[in-house]
Amino acid sequence: MKRIVIHMFLKPEPTVKDLKGLVESAGLTLDQLLEMYYEMSLIREFEEAIGAKYYEGKNPFNMASGPIRGEMHLSSGQEAVAVGVGSNLRKEDVVVSTHRPHHHAIAKGTDVRKLAAEIFGKSTGLCGGKGGHMHLFDKEVRFSCSGIVGASFPQAAGAAFAFKYRGEDNVAVAFAGEGAANHGTFYETLNAASLWELPLILVVEDNMYADSTPKSIALATPHHFQRAMSLNIPSYLVDGMDVIDVYLATRKAVQRARSGGGPSLIEAVTYRFRGHFEGDGQEYRERDEVEMWRLMDPITRLGNRLTKLGVEKERLEERRKKAKEKVDEALKFAEESPYPEPSTALTGVFR
């Protein structure tokens, strides 16, 4: 089954020869690929650790208890999208993300210690504990997100507008799910970005579901990309479980944006291995489906390719281990950090 599945995806898995050619034409070195492997591992380890912590003190399950409260949306399975895009970005570029923001934040370069601390609601967190998991802001790397579906598109467009206005060659990226792309803001932003040739990249992570709603009952078409094309925006449908495919499309989109060519859309077909949020009973999908997609785990897939390209297993394991250590350290930092002073809740509405 494993072989079959991999081969039935967007493109057939390349032979070693074709893989070498692909990597070369992408202008990627093995070291860069290893770095992507590390980044994806860092995200996965981070979220697995957060996921585990989230359930502490939640037996029976209750969102309000335990060291991490509220909703928790993890991205396991979608790491290749974040890293394939993020590898093309600079610190000055803007990323606006969603209710499912960890992978984007880490791929943009947010310090995982501050990220973890924010998720724990600690004073050392990115926002001093005010934001939490769904409202992450990191001015340092120009990252922000919102728990409101569809909100990321225009905000990134606004940043792109500012870059163009000031003659800077930065780009702005909005991430959103395939559910969010049904929202009017997607269309409005596409029109504005195309019209004004904004250095904007919209990345739609099509993980097949919006909450409990499969895309078959929410989209009139199988994909979104042709909607953007109808607005004269170059649009890429990519294999979101293949970091190289995401990287390649993003490279073109970023080049276009930086050089004044205008916006692009990247639609990445992907899957979330976990529920929409933690605690999700997942009545809306079959277990088999999840299992099938797990066979395409983007981290394993890249690992296999690296092995095929001659990288020793040890080097991969070493990267994975380093990622885990970094995550352990971040969680330790977060857990040991103090909570914010209650009085800080009353300040900061206005500057």
């Binding site: 504990g129 009017g184 800080t344």
Partner: protein, 332 residues
Amino acid sequence: MKMKGISQAIAQGIAQEMERRNDIVVLGEDVTYWGAVFGFTMGLFDKFGRKRVVDTPITEQTFMGMAVGMASVGLHPVVSLMFVDFLGAGFDQMYNHMAKNHYMSGGQFPMPVTVITAVGGGYGDAEQHSQVLYGLFAHVPGFKVVVPSNAYDAKGLTIRALRDPNPVVIFGHKLLTGLPFLPYEGEEDEVPEEPYELEFGRAIVKTEGSDLTVASVGVMVHRAMRVAEKLRKEGISVEVVDLRTLVPLDEETLSRSVKKTGRLLIVDEDYMSYGMTGEVAFRIQSRAFRELKAPIQRLTVPDVPIPFSEPLEREVIPSEAKIEAKIREMVR
């Protein structure tokens, strides 16, 4: 039957009306498998199928607008606005059309629409998923604003809404849903199996008292009642009034209470300024001016977004401890 929480009560009310009538259609995000996340539509998908229980794309403006169009030709849509916090994505169709078309059309187009939405914080979901915002709906004319505090009221008020030819927004507090994944601050209530209606605009005295009146809705009613219970043992006699609907507002019951106690504390989970507390205070100072022994006071979310971290969230949402302290200060 015994019932824990408003979600089951609301869902039962809808189901019973749907059985009787074909004009009711339920729509919104995740109203099938997930029962609108907070259970207000749970079980309806199994009973009535996708024809009458419709998952929409994530398009608040559009499904609210569709409800307006449906109502204009005789359906009675029940629309889920998953969290009230999302109103901004669809508010135009609500306050400029749903709420006004009956009036503006000179009475030609009734707008029988029931909107059900989840409100409130206290479980760590922060600013965009913890607001109450009924003040916004209560301010613009044309909505009836219902905030049930228990299962019995929730069922009766829901059925009332489904028989009302006007737009009604039901604000279900998450901490009163009775769902296993959230804290529960209510009681177990006795709820009749058969359908029944409760009238809008009828406040209810939940706890009688003579020293001070607390006016409130939703989860705050329970907090106030627990504080009243505690203080009673110390000889402080607090009367707790559950307003139940903000539009229409039962000034009569509340001012009767304030005339008796001479003191009013309004406890509210919405933002402090330009909202519910100011309005209630206005009406009462106007009706019980002579009887008021001291200025009306309020305990609300100070004008800040709801922060995430537990100590911060606890600082801004009125707690039993804060209610108690405020009452002690007022009766001193």
